[in-house]
Subunit: 210 residues, 2 copies
Amino acid sequence: MITHKLSVLVVEDHSIIAEGLSSILQGSEGLELRGVFSTAEAALLFLGSQPVDVLLLDISLPEMSGIEMCRTVKKQYKKTKIIALTNHTEKSVVQEMLESGADGYLLKNTSRQDLVAAISQVMNNQFIMQSEIQKLLFSPTPAGKALPRLTTREKEILQLVGQGATTSAIARQLFISPQTVETHRRNLMQKFEVNNSAALIKKATEKGLL
Amino acid sequence: MITHKLSVLVVEDHSIIAEGLSSILQGSEGLELRGVFSTAEAALLFLGSQPVDVLLLDISLPEMSGIEMCRTVKKQYKKTKIIALTNHTEKSVVQEMLESGADGYLLKNTSRQDLVAAISQVMNNQFIMQSEIQKLLFSPTPAGKALPRLTTREKEILQLVGQGATTSAIARQLFISPQTVETHRRNLMQKFEVNNSAALIKKATEKGLL
DNA sequence: TTTTTTATCCATGAAAACCGGTAGATGAAA
DNA sequence: TTTCATCTACCGGTTTTCATGGATAAAAAA
């Protein structure tokens, strides 16, 4: 089926990883490593003279980022497949990369087998990414991303609980009954789906409420 | 000066990086790569039969962490030099690694030249780390917030408390008495200068321990 | 104008956390 | 060897939290 070797280009500024990729790709049948660049600019220049089949692209690069480069390449060389190869696990980064036209998203903990397999898969017009990334992308963490709507009073109480205040201390400070404070705290815990204050504070902190 | 080649061992679970290191080290004069392992346990087993001069050690590893491994190795093979090779830039991690006896701390963006140079430097009993890390380490600790030194056990309990586990649940999980868990928690609260778990979790989170 | 949400309050009892000590066993360090 | 740190465990007692299961009034939304 394969008429000639797939040409591959790597853009990666960490030399240890660049070396690793280089070594893996060179040792793989059916792949031909055309170059390893440490900046997007240099790689683009190269592509101008010699397009490739697959581009392995880091995101954190000096100057022009991998995301920008991805957009540029996809505009100019529609046939070139792009696989993002990075450590970013933030949903926003992944999304941006995919919206920029990337054909795959791999983390740097990918095994050499998976890496090589991924390259042939994207050449078959498949879209590839690890299951971790898929999960991240398609499940807003069922009870996670949707941060509960808190009332003004609840936010106040949450703050004070986080400062280590006891129920009665909070009551005194807000001039309300301790029972009321209890009720609010209970509702908070319910909304956050936890069963004690420690976990409540942790979740609230994670969501940036504290 | 050098009588024979320096023997080097790599412990790294990301295969791309492992490959990169392997390739770099094999291509370096005066160095002999004795092995690349993806777990601390496997590497320790190997060291038992064959000590080496220098150990390149990742920190995030499955099961036993690089920090623990560092301690173990330094205890058993005092002459082996250890260079941490990781992406962790948290001050606490760096400190812990150095306290565990590491002779150097490099980030994974190190160039191959620097890496090879680092190896010969530690063999000359020099201590090596990037200037970024030095800055991080000697930076004035924002607002005098020296984070308390926690014991291994305390860290474990802190994690679990943050997950909302009760004293008895923690006790069951760690196979120790609930009273012991209470004691640890009490000590944690003392160290963080708070008087309940909610505030404990908040402070710990602020300091990046959770 | 109903209905819902929000904030307020209450009681009771069980479970957990918190406090202030004490103390044995290790293992490492001085 | 003695000291120090750490982990372990216990006692007795107080305080706080958590779970149930209510209720009322005002404000906002429908």
